[in-house]
Symmetry: C2
Subunit: 273 residues, 2 copies
């Protein structure tokens, strides 16, 4: 089977083109694709260089590449579109319909979707990240300032979710790992009692948690079936006892855990893309 190169071309980071393009390509099974990201294509030189790279891939593979573009500037797009490729324009395809709907012309300025907005937004993001770091894994405990406090057993996804909530949404997220003492007592530690309304519980299927813990500490008590099942069973009983909102993270990516927490808890995001 022949391989085909898929280019993600952007005047910014290319993350949006990658994500949407990848989602589209996964609709085509049994095909082999080689992904290449060309970010920061923001000058005529770089646009011409992109054309050369695309044409080289076409020649080497004997199949024209697929190009997912989020280029904003007409003069750059007009160059890249001349490459020997299927050019899929994720941006300007929608500008026309929007201009007609809004009855106004677009500015065609270079996209700053991922650019630094203003100092306030930047500061929110950094403060949220520092908050997540300072209140990770039961440390800190500055729960009065938290938008949400994730609780759950070790390796259920609390830390990366808190960091993602901070970076993506500017949300102040702390996390608290349930200790064996907490689980045995079957109750929340005193310092969390005051903040019950901020708690959000994460759980996971025991087979999955065993896999994840085994990656970390093979053949340990920590990763044993018995220990994992005990911790999850008692943690879930505790969540039920306090009627905490909860999520099973077994099938979830970090993005999905974060988004589901915001969606079901009503926590306001402090940042927009």
């Amino acid at each position: 089977m022949s391989r085909r190169t898929v280019f993600f071309v952007s005047d910014q980071t290319g993350v949006t083109a990658e994500t949407l393009g990848h989602s589209l390509m996964t609709q085509f099974e049994g095909q082999e694709f080689r992904p290449v990201t060309l970010p920061f294509v923001s000058s005529l030189d770089k646009a011409q260089d992109a054309v050369r790279r695309i044409n080289r891939a076409a020649e080497e593979e004997g199949l024209r590449p697929i190009v997912f573009s989020t280029l904003v500037q007409d003069e750059l797009r007009e160059i890249v579109v001349t490459a020997n490729a299927l050019f899929l324009d994720l941006f300007s395809t929608f500008v026309g319909p929007l201009e007609r709907e809004l009855n106004t012309r677009s500015t065609h300025r270079a996209g700053r979707a991922h650019g630094m907005a203003d100092l306030a937004a930047y500061t929110t993001r950094i403060n949220a990240t520092n908050f997540a770091l300072a209140n990770d894994d039961g440390s800190g405990g500055d729960y009065a300032l938290a938008d949400v406090v994730l609780i759950g057993v070790s390796r259920v996804g609390k830390t990366p979710t808190c960091l993602y909530l901070a970076l993506q949404y500017g949300v102040f997220a702390a996390n608290y790992p349930l200790t064996e003492d907490d689980l045995e007592a079957g109750r929340l530690p005193a310092r969390l009692e005051h903040f019950r309304s901020k708690l959000y519980a994460l759980t996971i299927k025991s087979e999955r948690l065993q896999q994840i813990r085994t990656e970390r500490r093979p053949e340990s008590r920590y990763a044993s079936q018995q220990q994992v099942q005990y911790e999850l069973r008692t943690a879930e009983a505790l969540f039920a006892r306090y009627a905490l909102p909860w999520l099973d993270t077994t099938e979830c990516s970090i993005e999905e855990i974060a988004s589901r927490i915001l969606n079901t808890s009503g926590i306001e995001r402090r940042l927009r893309p």
Copy 2:
């Protein structure tokens, strides 16, 4: 001026629809938009609920909303498209051209672009995040395992960039804050000397750094013009002395810093979207 609601509808987190939609809407200045994200629209019920919310906004505002959709499943899209709105289909608009190009039918499966792929990818991501946490701010120092070590003065963007590199790309990124001792000596600390090829320097304009430090510690020596200028000047001299690759982060978002580092250093990403 009348306000219009912009919906971002997705069967996943909605982040892609938000990012691309936001980038498109910033092309229209002087218009006021109210952003509403409807994530996890993955059932007929939820699709019908989305229609009700869109129609309610149309009625309340007297202007039909704009809908950016990344819905993958035909049967859900066919429901949402009936709402009283300008429906911009970021997904299926491109499926037809791809089917013709690849000469094959797409599977029309629900998008899993942000879903959990396999255990190996998940583990990479979590390990990279833990690595960033353990090797943040000069601690840890496990530089032999690092893909990159960011260096620079305090508040130049090192920590959030390392976390973003881990979460988005699975890259193992450590960071080291240049101390006053390092700056006075005008040389790298001994424990970094062995890893010069992994170093990537960040700098920033002094006015900007003053603003950022003032947010943190107003009227401190740390945030003073004199101190900030001294640190940046000596740090940049050190970067030049060692011929380190460097980036000015003044106008950059975290995403952009991360993407530029990967793009110019040749570090391989360990994850694809």
